[in-house]
């Protein structure tokens, strides 16, 4: 009887075992192996020891791509992190037409990323783009946006903040609505102003959610690829060349699969640590 049950369960697990085995577990192990191998996809792979890592560490673009990725992550935190929190706090006070606010704030999220990026590329046009025309109305600019190494990364971050904000706003909003109103009432009786209540009740109550969204944002922005690929191709002067874009170039333009796997391994270690912290935080938060 037990045997038969085990067998049935195994049958139902076959689809998962196949897709996870072939397209997740094996590629993870294989990525580890490839980073110590040389392969051109045709001849059998050869073991080359740490050669891929040596090649990687002598490539001046490695440092550039790490710096750029950290710049993107940092700017995205600075700009993209407080914005949804502020928006959600305002939206929580809205009684009528709350659905309209939610609809509008989430609308950019449903636009396919490539379409959104191409749109913004058109808006960023230094000649007659929407943004320079708008700034021109108040006598500012023209700004070079994507065309200058100094402002290209910031332009990427602005678009990516716009595109991704909606999800975070909805999560914050749900959390704010869930804060017990007794807390506010008690504070009010003690004479706390509205600002004091936001500062001393809303924000502290949101701390776990803020922490989780922070980690989630770090994990996503570390893997930034579509924005630099479609906006700038990594330029100008490699100012937007990110780690994942460099992996893509190594593998699919230079055919340096081993080197690409080596850099992937480094990125995987960083992301793995962040994910571990994230999962730990989710668990402790769900438990509380």
């Amino acid at each position: 009887m037990i045997r038969k049950n085990t067998l049935t369960a195994l049958v139902f697990l076959v689809p998962a075992l196949i897709v996870f085995g072939a397209f997740s577990w094996w590629p993870i192990v294989r990525g580890l192996l490839i980073s110590f191998q040389s392969t051109n996809l045709v001849d059998p792979a050869e073991w080359v020891g740490p050669a891929n890592f040596t090649a990687l560490f002598t490539d001046p673009l490695l440092g550039v791509s790490i710096r750029n990725t950290l710049l993107f992550v940092g700017l995205a935190l600075l700009i993209g992190f407080p914005a949804p929190l502020v928006l959600a706090t305002v939206m929580a006070t809205v009684r009528r037409a709350a659905g309209l606010y939610r609809f509008l704030v989430y609308l950019p999220v449903v636009i396919p990323p490539v379409v959104a990026i191409l749109l913004w590329k058109w808006f960023y046009d230094p000649g007659h783009g929407l943004f320079n025309e708008l700034f021109g109305l108040v006598g500012l600019g023209p700004f070079p946006w994507l065309d200058s190494p100094g402002s290209a990364m910031l332009s990427l971050v602005l678009q990516s903040t716009w595109a991704g904000m909606g999800g975070a706003v909805l999560i914050y909003l749900a959390a704010i609505v869930g804060i017990p109103s007794e807390l506010y009432e008690a504070a009010q009786m003690d004479g706390a102003s509205i600002r004091a209540r936001i500062w001393h009740i809303t924000l502290p109550q949101l701390r776990p959610v803020i922490g989780l969204l922070l980690l989630m944002q770090l994990i996503t922005t570390m893997q930034v690829f579509t924005e630099p690929y479609v906006f700038t191709g990594g330029g100008p002067e490699n100012a937007t060349l990110t780690v994942l874009l460099l992996i893509f170039r190594y593998a699919f333009q230079d055919g340096a699969y081993g080197q690409a796997a080596a850099l992937s391994l480094l990125l995987a270690i960083v992301l793995g640590i962040l994910s571990a912290v994230y999962l730990r935080a989710t668990r402790s938060w769900s438990a509380s």
Partner: protein
């Protein structure tokens, strides 16, 4: 409530609150509707107008035929159909894998189940982008390059889907399963007649996540589908951006963003609620 109803009736508070709310609404309209409006306007404007009068709210000489031109010249219809196939297949595979695995792990509970579950959850530590190179090699080995299976099958390996399904099934009353067994239900009937009919919410959530994820994914289709005829619209647009005339490209973009925006318009309540469900508390 952050602000009590009594306070809200005070004129000063009320005025401040209303103005903040109105400014926010204006900002959200500008950020949410603005780009969409500019796209549609740009799509029906001649290229010359795009350069001469980018701020005009209405096109001077609207050309709806731009849509037909873009459809024909750029092959938008074919690419949209490709995207539909990519999304449809990825959805089916993800749902099938999540439901069968969740059912096996939650209801059938084999002894080795927790090891399998652990190995599945462990993949959450490794985003697929970092094993993309080896995933590409595996896809080559299996001869799947340039077929949609190269997108569908890897999409099925989503640990989060399995987690959602298993957790939901865990919460279903076990007595029902026992009762069904006594009535002589086979395992397959247990899944299709008892478990699935009670699992509509989770099926909807997994479907939503699957569709959104595969509609938005860019890097993997870019790598796995090299045949331009088979590329989904996002990959095709990124390639066309360099060559196509500006007004046709914008018309193509308008057509590419219409389906998801329309779907969102129709299902927004469910989508927003579904996101709440999968939010951090998931």
């Amino acid at each position: 409530m952050m602000i009590s109803p009594v306070e809200e009736r005070r004129p000063a508070v009320r005025a401040a609150l209303r103005s903040i709310q109105w400014v926010t609404l204006g900002l959200l309209v500008a950020l949410g509707i603005g780009p969409l409006y500019m796209t549609v306007k740009g799509a029906v404007s001649p290229s010359a107008d795009l350069i001469a009068k980018p701020l005009a709210l209405l096109p001077a000489d609207p050309r709806p035929e731009n849509f037909a031109t873009a459809w024909a010249d750029l092959g938008v219809g074919g690419y949209l159909l490709n995207t539909l196939q990519v999304v449809g297949g990825a959805w089916a595979v993800q749902l099938f894998v999540a439901v069968t695995a969740g059912f096996a792990l939650s209801v059938l509970r084999p002894r080795f189940g927790r090891y399998v579950y652990g190995a599945i959850l462990a993949t959450m530590f490794v985003p697929y982008t970092v094993s993309m190179v080896s995933l590409f090699m595996t896809v080559i080995d299996l001869g799947l390059v340039d077929t949609y299976w190269s997108i569908w099958l890897p999409a099925g390996a989503s640990a989060f889907n399995v987690l959602l399904a298993k957790r939901f099934f865990d919460a279903l009353p076990a007595e029902l399963f026992a009762a069904a067994r006594i009535d002589g239900a086979t395992t397959w009937q247990l899944l299709t007649k008892i478990v699935l009919p009670m699992s509509r919410p989770i099926v909807a959530v997994i479907s939503l996540l699957a569709v959104m994820h595969s509609w938005k994914d860019f890097i993997w289709p870019l790598v796995a589908i090299t045949d331009p005829e088979k590329q989904p619209i996002s990959v095709a647009l990124a390639n066309l951006a360099e060559q196509a005339p500006q007004d046709e490209l914008i018309a193509a973009m308008a057509m590419a963003l219409a389906p998801p925006v329309l779907v969102f318009l129709v299902f927004q309540k469910y989508i927003v609620a579904g996101l709440g469900f999968t939010g951090v508390k998931g």
